[in-house]
């Protein structure tokens, strides 16, 4: 089976000024596309030739994992934004966040810290762990928390390509702007 670059639910300039059109042109148009192309080039003739993307993320290793997981991670990342997203968590998601972190503000602080302190390339995640509780985790490079039995709800890409054109070395500024484009309605749907 051959994978395709998923369409975005918004235009490339929709997230301006928080995430620039130029950044999305490269991040979605080049990086995400390259992971798709690389994956399609790697799987023919392997046990993953007819696998779903989730199966590849859960079971593969090496280049197939790196590219497959990066396809999954970027799709998950780009799908959580919108131009006029609901700016704050509500209802059961809000309650779960308050239960796990004390308050929405405390959660944002901890998630921001996880995103800022991940050394090198990787991702910060809000996940539901195997006990059904919310948890913040960091992963390096392409790694994905599903491999540890955790269900992702929200993710922040902290590879430098995610922010370097807009913010250069200022990753904290990127994470600050990240909060302004997260659509919490989508995160709530993932939680339910």
């Amino acid at each position: 089976m051959s994978f395709e670059l998923p369409k975005l639910n918004y235009s490339l300039d929709a997230l301006e000024p928080f995430m620039s059109k130029q950044t999305l042109e490269f991040h979605y148009g080049k990086h995400h596309q390259a992971y798709v192309n690389n994956l399609n080039g790697l799987i023919p003739g392997t046990e993953f030739e007819n696998a779903t993307l989730e199966e590849i993320v859960m079971k593969s290793s090496g280049g197939i994992f790196n590219n497959g997981a990066q396809v999954w991670n970027h799709t998950f990342f780009f799908n959580q934004f919108s131009k006029d997203g609901c700016s704050e968590p509500r209802d059961v998601l809000k309650e779960a966040i308050e239960k796990a972190f004390g308050s929405v503000e405390a959660f944002k602080e901890q998630f921001t810290k996880a995103a800022i302190t991940l050394f090198g390339s990787g991702w910060a995640w809000l996940v539901v762990n195997q006990q059904g509780e919310l948890e913040i985790v960091q992963t390096s490079n392409a790694a994905n928390p599903m491999r540890d039995g955790k269900k992702p709800l929200l993710t922040c890409d902290v590879w430098e390509h995610a922010y370097y054109l807009d913010k250069q070395n200022l990753r904290p500024k990127y994470v600050e702007d990240f909060w302004k484009i997260v659509d919490w309605k989508i995160i709530a749907e993932r939680y339910q």
């Binding site: 490269f26 990086h31 050394f119 090198g120 390339s121 430098e160 370097y164 250069q168 070395n169």
Partner: protein
């Protein structure tokens, strides 16, 4: 002793168009400066304050902050020193003989090093190291370094390329191979040779 950010002996625009001035300035004054100050903070009050950076990195175990920032400090020091305004010469003399002996030819070495630089997934460095008289090519993740016990490739670095995206993204964006190609036009082989003989 505390470590200091070295001054470059060329201007930020000296490597244009292969490496642009804006990249150089941010790379030096922001990234390298941050590794330097974070390293100093990490070793403050410890025995590491009396050691050289090479001694620190060669320790049996490294605290994460020392590993990341000590590596970042050392690696960038080397990188700036290896780059030559006015362009690259070619390896000569004993160094050239060793390269030909260990890789077959200078071109075969360049191919192996380029491959190591391009295929390092995520952030990291590709290296040419000298280990017990033999030259080896390899790569390390993040700011790890061949002097470190955790490194898969071990030895004394004599050539290194930074393949963190911050090293090339403003100029080359996703095209890491173009950056690596440009890097070959900037190598100060006199420095590589000195490190080889060192």
């Amino acid at each position: 002793m505390s470590f200091e950010l070295p001054t470059l002996n060329y201007s930020y625009d000296a490597l244009e168009p292969m490496i642009d001035a804006r990249t150089m300035e941010i790379h030096h004054t922001k990234h390298h400066a941050a590794y330097t100050s974070n390293l100093n903070a990490a070793i403050a009050g410890s025995a590491d304050e009396k050691k050289t950076i090479e001694q620190i990195l060669s320790a049996e175990t490294l605290a994460p902050a020392v590993r990341n920032n000590g590596g970042g400090y050392y690696n960038h020091n080397l990188y700036w020193e290896l780059l030559a305004p006015g362009g690259s010469t070619e390896p000569e003399g004993d160094l050239k003989k060793a390269i030909v002996n260990d890789f077959g030819s200078v071109d075969a070495f360049k191919e192996a090093f380029t491959k190591a630089a391009i295929t390092r997934f995520g952030s990291g460095w590709a290296w040419l190291v000298k280990n017990d008289g033999k030259l080896l090519v390899g790569s390390t993740p993040n700011q790890d370094n061949p002097l470190m016990k955790v490194s898969d490739i071990k030895g004394t670095p004599i050539l290194g390329i930074d393949v963190w995206e911050h090293a090339y993204y403003l100029n080359y964006q996703n095209r890491r191979p173009d950056y690596v190609e440009a890097f070959w036009k900037l190598i100060n082989w006199d420095v590589v040779s000195r490190l080889f003989h060192g």
